[in-house]
């Protein structure tokens, strides 16, 4: 009798462990399904605003061709580098998304180019993947942790988190300073969809957030033949060593448990423009670290940042 109970308990534990491993493999496959060459349509439209005098801004639409390369593929970490192909001839290093399994360390965006460090409880991130999204220069953008869902033939991941203004509005708008992103990334039969329900927020120190307007975003990634992105793959082969050094430099910066505040410009030039110069000469890690350090400022901790 006692033996049979022990056997049953062991069998149950093994079964659960196998199920968890299978689920993790499904997660990993879903993340890697975002790799490849994609034609993308970007569509954003403002929807609701609490104040009657708010005038909705014009819709934003754009198209692009993009290659996503898995630059790290480990058991608990997958890193995807996105590269834009412009007019079939020019390649621009675009955003990067890192996926970390049961990760506890995140930087949530607060405001004014400040990110606050948070240590998430281990039980809160069990079975979850953290998505860390980076700018074109590998500086931080936003982070969020959630569970990949695989039901009814659907494969998606959803998360709400604060972020700086998107690039399309970064230099055009000053009437809000935080975007609370509702991100939904779903793998589809033709590629994947990045659906967004965003809140445009005015955040001031010591005051409650004020919602300015909401927007819907649909970025549709349709997979196309890899040859269409060959120029991007070639470009990456030539520049990947430089960006490996850049990531190593940033890793030293992110190895902290305090806020991270970055200047928006040094010598009237944003960080990504400085990076172009270093990339051109394939600068060493010491030079890259020196550059990053010139952008880092010390600042008091803030408690506004939010992510779920």
């Amino acid at each position: 009798m006692k033996k049979s109970i022990i056997f049953t308990a062991l069998a149950l534990a093994v079964t659960l462990a196998m199920q968890a491993q299978e689920k993790k493999e499904l997660d990993r496959n879903a993340i890697k399904d975002m790799c490849g060459c994609f034609e993308i349509t970007f569509k954003y439209t403002e929807t609701f605003a609490p104040e009657i005098d708010y005038e909705k801004k014009l819709d934003y639409t754009a198209k692009a061709l993009e290659l996503a390369i898995p630059i790290v593929d480990e058991e608990n970490k997958i890193s995807l580098q996105h590269l834009l192909v412009v007019h079939d001839t020019v390649v621009i290093k675009h955003w990067r998304q890192d996926w970390l399994y049961e990760n506890q360390n995140v930087f949530y965006y607060d405001k004014d180019n400040n990110w606050t460090f948070h240590k998430l409880p281990a039980d809160a991130v069990k079975g979850q993947w953290t998505q860390k999204v980076y700018q074109v220069d590998d500086s931080p953008r936003y982070s969020g942790s959630a569970t990949w869902v695989h039901f009814d033939g659907k494969h998606f991941w959803e998360n709400d988190t604060d972020s700086p203004l998107p690039r399309r509005e970064y230099s055009k708008r000053s009437d809000y300073n935080v975007m609370k992103r509702g991100n939904r990334q779903e793998i589809t039969s033709y590629g994947w969809v990045h659906e967004q329900d965003n809140d445009k927020i005015i955040r001031k120190e010591g005051e409650p957030d004020v919602l300015l307007a909401q927007e819907k975003g649909m970025n549709i990634y349709t997979k196309v033949a890899d040859e269409k992105c060959k120029i991007a793959q070639d470009w990456w082969n030539q520049h990947k060593d430089f960006w490996a050094k850049a990531r190593a430099s940033w890793d030293q910066v992110y190895d902290r448990s305090t806020d991270l505040t970055l200047l928006k410009q040094v010598d009237n030039t944003p960080l990504f423009m400085h990076f172009y110069n270093l990339e051109e000469v394939n600068a060493g890690q010491d030079k890259i670290s020196q550059l990053i350090q010139t952008f880092i400022v010390d600042k008091k901790a803030s408690k506004n940042a939010e992510g779920k």
């Binding site: 104040e51 009657i52 005098d53 005038e55």
Partner: protein, 184 residues
């Protein structure tokens, strides 16, 4: 008896407070409304810095205008001493409440833009959409506006849309009265 005295004292206190708040106090634009007025001027005239100079309309002339011009209603929008145009701030009824609106004028007294700044009901908020309000742009002092003819109707916001049309119509008539009396 004692209870009655206390009530009298309390009543007097309430009356005194009410009078000091509403009766003898000067009318002042609330901060939130003022912020919205400033934003409306900035976005309409494309300026950051400007001054709003209140234009005092004499009581005799105010009697001749269909809309109230005697309080903090009519302003000259100034930039470096030059007039960019005029601003009329008014209040109009919605179904169960009132809303605050502005009509912004070019120097030739044609409407540059109109905006509803504060709306206090859940129904009929469509009236604040620029897709509808833009119909008032270009209308001149003295021009008459009829809801459903000159200005399109809005389904689901009939009372507020009618009210706004009548308000703007009355503002245009009032501006003409001021113009005819060499006010500007």
């Amino acid at each position: 008896m004692q209870r009655g005295s206390k009530f009298k004292v309390f009543s007097l206190a309430v009356i005194f407070t009410a009078l000091s708040l509403f009766g003898f106090g000067t009318q002042k634009i609330p901060a939130k409304l003022q912020e919205k007025i400033d934003n409306a001027v900035q976005s309409t005239f494309g300026v950051q810095e400007f001054t709003l100079e209140q234009l005092a309309v004499h009581a005799d002339l105010n009697k001749k205008t269909p809309v109230e011009m005697g309080g903090e209603n009519l302003f000259n929008i100034l930039l470096g001493g030059n007039s960019l145009g005029y601003l009329y701030l008014g209040e109009a009824p919605s179904m169960k409440n009132v809303f605050d609106y502005v009509v912004l004028f070019n120097p030739d007294l044609s409407i540059k833009k109109s905006k509803i700044l504060i709306y206090r009901e859940d129904y009929g908020r469509q009236v604040g959409s620029q897709r509808w309000l833009k119909q008032f742009i270009g209308k001149k002092a003295g021009e008459s506006l009829i809801y459903g003819e000159d200005i399109d109707a809005i389904s689901g916001a009939t009372i507020s849309a009618k009210s706004m049309t009548l308000a703007v119509n009355n503002v245009l008539q009032s501006m003409q009265v001021l113009q005819e009396n060499n006010f500007f």
